[in-house]
């Protein structure tokens, strides 16, 4: 048959470096994204260890304050734009076409370009550390006028953000085009797996938010070099305007980092609870509600800039509202586990840890929504603890869950369950040793972004640094697990798990180079 011949021809996997440079295959590009994300995770993690080493004791021991500020800044940029965002795009590339029964992404050539922009962008960012004056040192929020003072490292950062933004927007367009146009017959919108839903909503957030950031940093660039005064009070501009524009991007960005994570654990928990996801449609609506609200709460990041009372009240109320759809999600996951028949393989352990520890981050977020209390919390270690509970435990742990969940589908081999569990327990315990004490540091009054601190903060900082180093080195176990699973191990079946839901489990493991050349029929 002609189709069979064609299929056979297609299944030849290209060899060598050109396979990766010129690939338009969604699985290859997904793999590239995931490896890139993991490398950036280690790079950003190494910077975090520099920070924790300096904070191990009061006084200056390891680095000077200017370099410390660069580490704080670049750690955040690398983790957000290099590790978490590309990581989720990697999952999207690998899984979305298989989940909706499409042969590939809608725009495969553009897909290649969206990936290959990334290494160049992050190279610029890392290179900024080595130019005269050093890298960006004004925090990842690059508030002017401080960021106007920086050297050419700031310019490199601005270009990095431009390129990364372009990559994200292209990726988002591709994801929307794929999901809206390439679903298999019968795969109606309300039948899509939740991971697909969260990604389509995230993609719209990306398209709306990234250009705003690009605009903000472009204005910064012209302020720095071309004599404009958008953000300079002396020239008739307004430094606070930058913060408004930045956070109009920055808050949706928070949900760009977390919504796909919600999607992953909404796939994992039902599989291991052996019970359908509780409240599917309320999950979809809650995701959409969070996405909408994310555009009207931005100024809760800047309660202390001296907004009018009415502004402070509006942003306090709108921020508190986000707790409702977020709560719905957490309760739905709990209800999915309720009266299930659970087993606790590594993906499930990570999913449960995500729900539990993200809840901690969500609850501290609710505390900070209360404007008068936030005047105490703002810019202290309390916020540092909060957003690591959200971004590490929400996004990164969910990605770990997804890696262990789909790894057998990607490699065709089961991963080493014992090693997986060791990785899990080390990560979760050391994470809490690192970040739980930071809540107390913040309460006690330790500001964030300082290289040195007064003696009353010494004890918890030391605890936190010890945890940080265990956390950092534990991640090498994940690398080991992945390599081991690529090289061999127990053969995975097509289903891998006990009767999981979804089209990706109907294709063999490892997934063939091309899947669903003929669209499957969805009941």
């Amino acid at each position: 048959m002609t189709t069979a011949v064609a299929d056979h021809h297609h299944d030849e996997v290209p060899k060598g470096i050109t396979r990766w440079l010129f690939t338009t295959n969604h699985k290859d590009i997904g793999t590239l994204y995931l490896w890139f994300s993991f490398i950036m995770f280690l790079v950003g993690g190494a910077m975090a260890l520099v920070i924790r080493a300096e904070l191990f004791m009061p006084g200056l021991q390891v680095v000077n304050p200017h370099f410390y500020n660069q580490m704080v800044t670049v750690h955040a940029l690398v983790m957000i734009f290099g590790a978490v965002m590309p990581g989720f795009v990697g999952f999207a590339n690998w899984m979305l076409p298989m989940m909706v029964g499409a042969p590939d992404m809608a725009l495969p050539r553009m897909n290649n370009w969206s990936f290959w922009l990334l290494p160049f962008a992050t190279t610029l960012l890392i290179a900024s550390l080595f130019v005269p004056g050093g890298g960006p040192a004004a925090g990842w929020t690059i508030y002017p006028p401080l960021s106007i003072q920086g050297g050419m490292g700031v310019d490199l950062t601005i270009f990095t953000i431009h390129i990364l933004g372009m990559s994200s927007i292209l990726g988002a367009i591709n994801i929307i085009a794929t999901i809206l146009n390439m679903r298999a017959p019968g795969m109606t919108l309300m039948k899509m797996p939740l991971f697909v839903w969260t990604w389509v909503i995230t993609a719209f957030l990306l398209i709306a938010a990234m250009p705003v950031l690009a605009g903000a940093v472009t204005m910064l660039l012209t302020d720095r070099h071309f004599g404009t005064a958008f953000f300079s009070a002396a020239g008739g501009g307004d430094p606070v305007m930058f913060q408004h524009i930045f956070w109009f991007f920055g808050h949706p960005e928070v949900y760009i980092l977390i919504l796909p994570a919600f999607g992953i654990i909404s796939q994992v928990i039902p599989t291991f609870a052996r019970k359908p996801l509780f409240g599917y449609s309320s999950m979809v609506f809650a995701t959409a509600a969070i996405a909408f609200l994310s555009f009207i709460v931005w100024a809760h990041h800047m309660y202390t800039v001296g907004m009018p009372l009415s502004g402070e009240l509006f942003f306090m109320y709108s921020t508190m509202l986000i707790a409702i759809p977020t709560g719905v999600k957490v309760f739905n996951w709990l209800a999915t586990m309720w009266r299930g028949s659970m087993t606790f393989e590594t993906p499930m352990l990570y999913a449960i840890a995500t729900v539990a520890l993200f809840t901690v981050g969500g609850l501290t977020g609710l505390m900070m929504a209360i404007t008068p209390a936030d005047f105490q919390y703002h810019d202290t270690y309390f916020i540092v603890a909060h957003f690591h509970y959200v971004i590490f435990c929400g996004s990164v742990l969910a990605m770990f869950s997804g890696v262990y969940y789909w790894l057998p589908k990607w490699t065709g081999h089961m991963y080493d369950e014992t090693l997986g569990k060791v990785h899990f327990w080390l990560t979760v315990i050391s994470f809490n040793i690192t970040f739980f004490p930071q809540h107390f540091l913040g309460f006690a009054g330790m500001p964030r972004r300082i290289p040195d601190y007064s003696l009353q903060f010494a004890e918890f900082n030391m605890v936190s640094s010890i945890g940080g180093f265990i956390l950092g080195f534990s991640q090498l176990i994940l690398l080991w697990v992945v390599i081991k699973s690529i090289r061999g191990g127990k053969k995975a079946t097509a289903e891998v798990w006990d009767n999981p839901e979804g089209l990706e489990w109907t294709v063999p493991s490892p997934a063939p180079y091309h899947t669903f050349a003929t669209a499957p029929e969805v009941r």
Partner: protein, 267 residues
């Protein structure tokens, strides 16, 4: 019962962790292990403290419920114990319930928060005005009605920072010139900055506010008791952001008047 168990578990964990740490902490003699906000000494700081405790109790209870249900499920509904999976995938009653109850809790939180905010933003009827200017890296204080003005910078010697000398009790929280305000008087602060954005924050006196070039922000303080209160810049302002502390002496009114006179004679 669950609560008391949690408390027991928590105190046991704290005790073990504490015992484990004491062994190798060099500064154990001055160990603080502070867990909560600093003791408030103004009305605003007290209101913030009370709100903080209220919201913390609320989120703790929510957290215990969520964790309780989760751990109960983990213990009870496991396949290894022969649990059979139920088939249900929604329950309108439960979903309405867990939308409505959080909404009510949020409304209950919003009321005292709004009241607190109204109180804090009311800078009228102040007894005196103090202008605070942030610059890289120190503070300038102007007593506008008294024609007194001075700078205040870090007093900790560099040798303590680099570790060539033992660190003093108020390491990094000491300045050359303290700012002095009278107890019981409503002091209106006007905050601005010369170069980049800073934030003025003394935890015991209340919240922080940004000092922004081109802007004049307002906040107010009425300290109930005399004493020395320390704080720091709370907005990243460059290299020495960690080295621009704030020290406020709250003194009796007579003492304040004498201090002002002395300052005037100095200049």
């Amino acid at each position: 019962m669950i609560v008391s168990r949690f408390k027991k578990l928590r105190s046991a964990m704290v005790a073990t962790a504490g015992a484990g740490m004491m062994g190798f902490l060099p500064t154990a003699a001055q160990a603080e292990w502070a867990l909560n906000l600093q003791r408030p000494v103004t009305e605003i700081a007290r209101v913030q403290y009370d709100l903080h405790m209220l919201i913390m109790y609320i989120v703790t209870v929510i957290g215990i419920i969520v964790f309780g249900v989760m751990f109960y499920s983990i213990a009870k509904f496991r396949k290894s114990k022969g649990a059979e999976a139920a088939k249900f995938d929604h329950s309108t009653k439960a979903e309405v319930l867990w939308t409505v109850i959080p909404t009510l809790i949020l409304i209950a939180m919003a009321v005292p928060s709004t009241k607190a905010l109204l109180l804090m933003e009311d800078t009228t009827e102040s007894d005196m005005v103090l202008k605070v200017t942030g610059y890289q890296w120190g503070w300038q204080y102007d007593y506008l009605e008294e024609d007194v003005s001075f700078f205040s910078k870090l007093a900790t010697p560099q040798s303590q920072i680099t570790g060539n000398e033992t660190k003093g009790e108020n390491y990094l929280l000491e300045v050359d010139n303290h700012v002095v305000i009278p107890a019981g008087k409503k002091v209106r602060l006007l905050l601005t900055a010369k170069d980049v954005i800073h934030a003025w924050w003394v935890p015991q006196l209340g919240g922080k506010k940004d000092a922004i070039p081109g802007y004049i922000n307002e906040m107010w303080i009425r300290a109930d008791e005399t004493g020395t209160y320390r704080g720091q810049c709370a907005e990243l302002c460059g290299k020495d952001h960690g080295y621009m502390p704030i020290v406020v002496d709250v003194v009796e009114e007579a003492e304040y008047m004498a201090w002002i006179e002395a300052q005037k004679n100095k200049s």
